[in-house]
């Protein structure tokens, strides 16, 4: 199963989580089963004036990820993710690796 992590830069698992979800700088897609990075993509919608969270949510859905890990998405993005049954996991002040470990331990939540 793939998860999407909203991160600050393209350094991989050592990247810190971005303080924003929709306007995060990069998206790291991680395969939880194979335990490896699938891709790291730059968020090209980051600087649009409005509706960025919606673009991010659409990107998430297209990517096939089932879980979104990172800062809390805004209400519009959240409504789309909820409609698409994507689990939102809000974590702060961690690196991507730490967030993945935290999610593994707390997956039941």
């Amino acid at each position: 199963m793939n998860v999407l992590i909203a991160v600050e830069n393209d350094a991989g698992l050592d990247s810190k989580l971005d303080s924003r979800f929709g306007r995060a700088s990069y998206f790291l897609i991680y395969d939880m089963d194979e335990e490896k990075i699938v891709s790291i993509e730059e968020n090209k919608f980051k600087n649009e004036p409005s509706g960025v969270g919606l673009r991010t949510a659409s990107f998430l859905i297209d990517s096939g990820c089932k879980v979104a890990i990172g800062a809390r998405p805004g209400p519009k993005a959240a409504s789309i993710l909820n409609a698409a049954n994507i689990k939102i996991v809000t974590v702060e002040n961690k690196t991507a690796k730490e967030a993945i470990d935290w999610y593994k331990q707390n997956a039941a939540l």
Partner: protein, 283 residues
């Protein structure tokens, strides 16, 4: 002629000036474009003849017919549409929509997307004696007053009339929209650092739009102030000073117009309009 009354800082006296200008002139149109909180009617007490809904065309998607091709969502500059093919869902976010019509235009499926009218505010039209009264009132929760302001200016005003247009405070989009078609801008300020700061910001817009303007100093203390200094620097004349007076404030708080509480002001306002007309003719 379109005379806009702006300020920058709120509470300097735009409505005081615009309503009393209208009362002094008589045959003119008072337009309240402070659509988030129109208050001119408190002082002019108009008889309302018409109350209209103002609407904008927005998309409505029929999920039963929609093929979730995402063409509309990709075409929308404002990201107001989200299409989710895996769960066959089409979502529309009205507060991001600018009613531009592109989504309706590009949708390739007959009947999937239609335009419906969404009310964003109301327009009231009436009279107060010889004064024609037009007021815009935005619905609570709307993200922007600009479409309503633009709609009133383009469709509900007769540009041949003498228009006294009361704007909202500030220097952002609603004010700019209200200034665009003006022939002259009256800038109402007060002799305080806040008043001056926001006056300077408004003057930047006035200059950008290349409009003729004059400053009215309200709550004046009778001496030379920082506004006079700025007026010289910026080459925008001070055309009137209204003194700071508890009596005027008391009367205002009861809805009593300045022309009743301050003797001589009516003649000054009339003279002001005369000067503005002369200047306009020269240009």
């Amino acid at each position: 002629m379109y005379i806009a009354v702006a300020s920058g800082k709120g509470g300097t006296g735009k409505t005081l000036v615009s309503t009393n200008l209208a009362l002094s002139i008589g045959t003119c149109t008072y337009v309240d474009l402070d659509v988030e909180e129109p208050n001119g009617s408190i002082f002019l007490k108009p008889e309302i003849e018409e109350e209209l809904q103002y609407t904008l065309p927005v998309p409505e998607i029929n999920e039963g017919v929609c093929t979730f091709c995402e063409t509309c969502a990709k075409a929308c500059t404002y990201n107001a549409l989200a299409i989710i093919p895996p769960i066959e869902k089409a979502m529309f976010f009205p507060d991001l929509c600018h009613a531009c019509g592109v989504c309706t235009y590009v949708c390739p499926v007959d009947g999937a997307l239609k335009e419906v009218n969404k009310e964003i505010g109301k327009i009231r039209i009436g009279r107060s004696g010889p004064i024609k009264f037009v007021e815009g009132r935005m619905n609570v929760g709307q993200p922007s007053g600009v479409p309503l302001i633009r709609g009133i200016i383009n469709r509900y005003l007769d540009m041949k009339d003498l228009l006294i247009v009361d704007l909202s405070p500030g220097t952002s989009c609603p004010v700019v929209e209200g200034l665009k078609k003006s022939d002259y801008i009256i800038l109402v300020t007060e002799p305080t650092p806040f008043g001056l700061n926001d006056l300077k910001l408004t003057v930047e817009i006035v200059n950008e739009l290349e409009k003729d303007a004059g400053i009215i100093v309200n709550k004046d203390n009778g001496k030379r102030t920082i506004i006079d200094d700025f007026s010289d620097e910026a080459n925008i004349p001070v055309i009137l000073k209204i003194p700071y007076s508890i009596d005027i404030q008391r009367a205002y708080s009861k809805g009593i117009p300045l022309i009743e509480s301050m003797p001589g002001i009516k003649e000054k306002f009339k003279a002001l309009i005369g000067t503005i007309f002369e200047k306009n003719e020269k240009n």
